[in-house]
């Protein structure tokens, strides 16, 4: 079959234009290689824009006791020690420079009294560590990266989707893609490819993620021969909106709690005081007064239990709801209005600290958060697992294939701390771009094989060709069934039977997906796009379910009702997945990478 396509040639191709992709592209362009960036949306719309609370970096501007060691050990503790220690080390050491660099590119952060970058408290971080600007840090970051990148001579392919990676022998050779506007095919030939495609939220019914987060990068890498790791660890953010139904899942920043917001059940109890994990007992306030003093910046006060890690807070909220102490619409209450009794000009203070939250609730729910509590509940937010990469270079098992940001695994272990995703994408976005450029320079051209192009094109066109067939259904119905399955069977609380059932259901959905038809033509056709996304979502949903089934313990974001405790044996293992020669998913457990002695010592000291 003769395929009609356009060819573009780059040294480094970056897939995704959120924070990680843009940071990688900037680094590669600065290294002097030809860079192409392909993204599914317009520039500046990627999910980084939604990040609210801030970027974690141990700059010690607010509390001079902070340093990379504390940040490193906080990250490891938050991840329940499944993190790759080398990545956690690099992240903690390099984040401050990456943040300062943003300022040099034009970012404007909130300031301390003496004019430095202000840092705020966040869950799991021992000291105020999140550089921020109000509650729209992500917008500031993506805009600065975008505006900086466009002047560096790279090419952007906006509103284009990658169908498959192309390979030349073992190494990556580029990508096959289509433009969403007209449905025209393109071959993006590249010596190195950086995947920076973000998360998997669209596999679940209640999510803070937009349509884009269909696990593309993870699935592309998996099909191309890379390994996936820690896929059982899906972060359910404790505070998403629950009412009205159409906004269910939209994120409510942890910054609300950082500014003094408290969680209450229908009886008015601050239930977070009832369950403080041993690992955090020393660092957590046991009374309301101390918690409030912490919010005010009292350095001798311990943090309020609302700022415990996200996995724990989400589970406590679920318990309140399950045991009948929830709010009218199936959540619990998050109250920031109460601080008016403690802060002069309280309403204005709330609006200044949390402007976009004020706006979001006012316009979408008709609620004034300076007057009333919010109703919130857990929402699928972030994938800790992902493409397994080398800690220093971010290269996957496939030579020339790099991954950074949410689609890569390693830094966050079993649970990510708030604020560590923005620093993750800066630190490892930069590294991926740097090493991809080096790889491209050293290795030279890769060859694109026409047979792979044809195969990818055939796969891409199949749903459109099925529109004449009988017995086909639309893609949206299958996607909804998958979301229902994952939400109810592989959600916050998991059991053996339910997950085994999920694996079975995913198999059936695969059969339905193989018959899905897209109606209409190739131009800006959401049905066609959704049909193609299904393959990726199904693969990664299966990866999540299989990994979660295999980990017979509860740790971090992975909670099993049938194994409610941590198992020290599983605490030594990562879950690794790869595609077998027969196309089936192969799972194995692997010992954690060894930790450098120096790092082990740091953890011991910080306990």
């Amino acid at each position: 079959m003769a395929i009609d396509y356009q060819t573009h040639e780059y040294d480094v191709l970056v897939v995704g234009a959120g924070g990680a992709g843009l940071r990688a592209a900037i680094e590669a362009a600065n290294a002097g290689v030809r860079v192409g960036v392909i993204c599914k949306s317009l520039l500046g719309k990627a999910h980084t824009v939604m990040a609210e609370g801030g970027v974690a970096a141990a700059m010690a501007n607010v509390d001079e006791r902070d340093n990379w060691r504390v940040h490193f050990s906080d990250t490891m503790r938050g991840g329940q020690y499944l993190n790759n220690p080398r990545m956690a080390e690099l992240h903690a050491k390099e984040a401050p420079d990456r943040v300062r660099e943003l300022e040099a590119w034009g970012a404007v952060f909130d300031r301390t009294e003496d004019g430095r970058i202000l840092q705020r408290n966040f869950g799991g971080h021992r000291y105020p560590r999140l550089a921020h600007v109000g509650d729209r840090t992500g917008l500031e970051m993506i805009r600065v990266l975008q505006d900086h990148a466009v002047h560096l001579g790279m090419t952007f392919h906006m509103e284009c989707t990658v169908v498959d990676l192309l390979k030349d022998g073992d190494r990556v050779a580029g990508a096959f893609a289509y433009d969403r506007e007209r449905g025209r095919f393109m071959v993006l030939k590249a010596k190195a490819v950086v995947l920076a495609t973000g998360g998997i939220g669209r596999g679940f019914k209640i999510t803070s993620n937009s349509w884009e987060y269909t696990a593309d990068g993870q699935a592309l890498a998996y099909r191309a021969g890379a390994e996936l790791m820690d896929m059982e660890f899906v972060q359910f953010h404790p505070t998403g909106m629950v009412w009205p139904p159409s906004v269910r899942g939209i994120l409510v920043t942890e910054g609300v709690r950082g500014e003094g917001g408290v969680l209450k059940n229908s009886k008015g109890e601050r239930f977070m005081f009832n369950d403080i994990p041993d690992l955090y007992k020393n660092q957590t306030a046991d009374n309301e007064e101390e918690g409030w003093r912490y919010v005010l910046g009292d350095r001798n006060a311990r943090r309020p239990p609302e700022l415990l890690t996200r996995d724990h807070v989400a589970r406590c909220i679920m318990r309140e709801i399950k045991e009948g102490r929830g709010s009218p619409h199936g959540g619990v209450f998050l109250d920031i209005a109460w601080i008016k009794s403690r802060v002069s000009g309280g309403a204005e203070h709330i609006k200044r600290k949390l402007p976009s939250m004020y706006h979001q609730f006012k316009e979408l729910a008709g609620i004034d958060i300076t007057e009333e509590p919010m109703e919130i509940g857990p929402t699928t937010h972030y994938m800790m697992g992902g493409i397994r990469v080398d800690a220093d270079t971010q290269m996957a098992r496939v030579p020339g294939l790099f991954a950074a940001g949410e689609c890569a695994a390693g830094l966050h272990g079993a649970n990510r701390l708030g604020g560590n995703s923005l620093s993750d994408l800066l630190v490892f976005g930069k590294r991926a771009g740097e090493f991809a450029a080096i790889f491209a320079r050293e290795r030279g051209d890769a060859k694109v094989h026409e047979s792979q192009v044809e195969e990818a094109a055939r796969r891409a066109l199949a749903p459109l060709e099925r529109q004449a067939a009988t017995g086909s259904e639309g893609p949206f119905q299958v996607q909804q069934s998958l979301q229902d399955t994952m939400q109810s069977l592989v959600g916050i609380v998991r059991t053996e039977a339910e997950m085994a059932h999920a694996v079975e259901e995913i198999g059936k959905l695969r059969e339905r997906a193989a018959k899905v038809a897209a109606y209409g033509n190739r131009e800006y056709n959401a049905g066609w796009h959704t049909a193609l996304d299904l393959e990726n979502l199904l693969t990664i949903s299966e990866a999540i379910a299989r990994s979660a089934l295999d980990r017979k313990e509860s740790r971090g974001a992975h909670f099993r009702e049938d194994y409610p405790n941590k198992d020290p044996e599983f605490g030594k293992l990562n879950t690794i997945l790869e595609r077998g020669a027969d196309g089936s998913m192969k799972l194995r457990r692997e010992q954690l990478p060894p930790m450098a002695e120096e790092l082990a010592k740091v953890i011991e000291e910080m306990k």
Binding site: S41, H47, P244, S246
Partner: protein, 246 residues
Amino acid sequence: MPPVTFNIWRGGAEGGEFKEYRTEVTEGMVVLDAVHQIQAESANDLAVRWNCKAGKCGSCSAEINGKPRLMCMTRMSDLPVNQPVRIEPMQAFPSIKDLVTDVSWNFEVKKRLKRFKPRKPDAPDGSWRFAQADTDRVQEFRKCIECFLCQDVCHVLRDHHKHEEFIGPRFFVYSAALEMHPLDEEDRLEDLKRANGIGYCNITKCCTKVCPEHITITDNAIIPLKERVVDRFYDPVRMLLRVIGG
């Protein structure tokens, strides 16, 4: 609640027409929800651009009952649903398909504007010192989510098509953010006057009215920039006016 009728523009660059759809509206729904429901139920190939669904990314701009708005921030309960709800793409930009328009001109414009140029760092570690008040001053401009609704409604672009000579409200806000940036040292006044056509704006404030982020575009961004341009290039006139006016 009975189903609501929607008239949605379907078509592309070659033309199109309004098509009628009916769908159930439930509590709290926004226009984007209704459009998605219609897409899933009866128009799988309906083209609509969206991302965050929370008013933060600025993707789902359209004209609803003739008003430029974000579909995700327009609640159904605020519209008269006893008559058809009319949804069409932004009119100031070329149509791609259905509700999606070609906004690439905006990205081209931004690329040719002078970029951020910071003063020398204040501290040996390469960082700067400035006050929270300086951050607060530019916050309003930096809130912009690039939905381009202000560009859509600006008559200089919409009716007079001055795309070659005029950068539009979005990029005056952008210019103001840079001009008033606490660290920036670049001079953009010459460009604002000549290449960027700030003189074309006759401060009708339509842009301010449609901004979903409530940025006071005209008063806080455009007028101060106009004043700076006037100060630089037309000072003798002001002197003359002062003499005449006593």
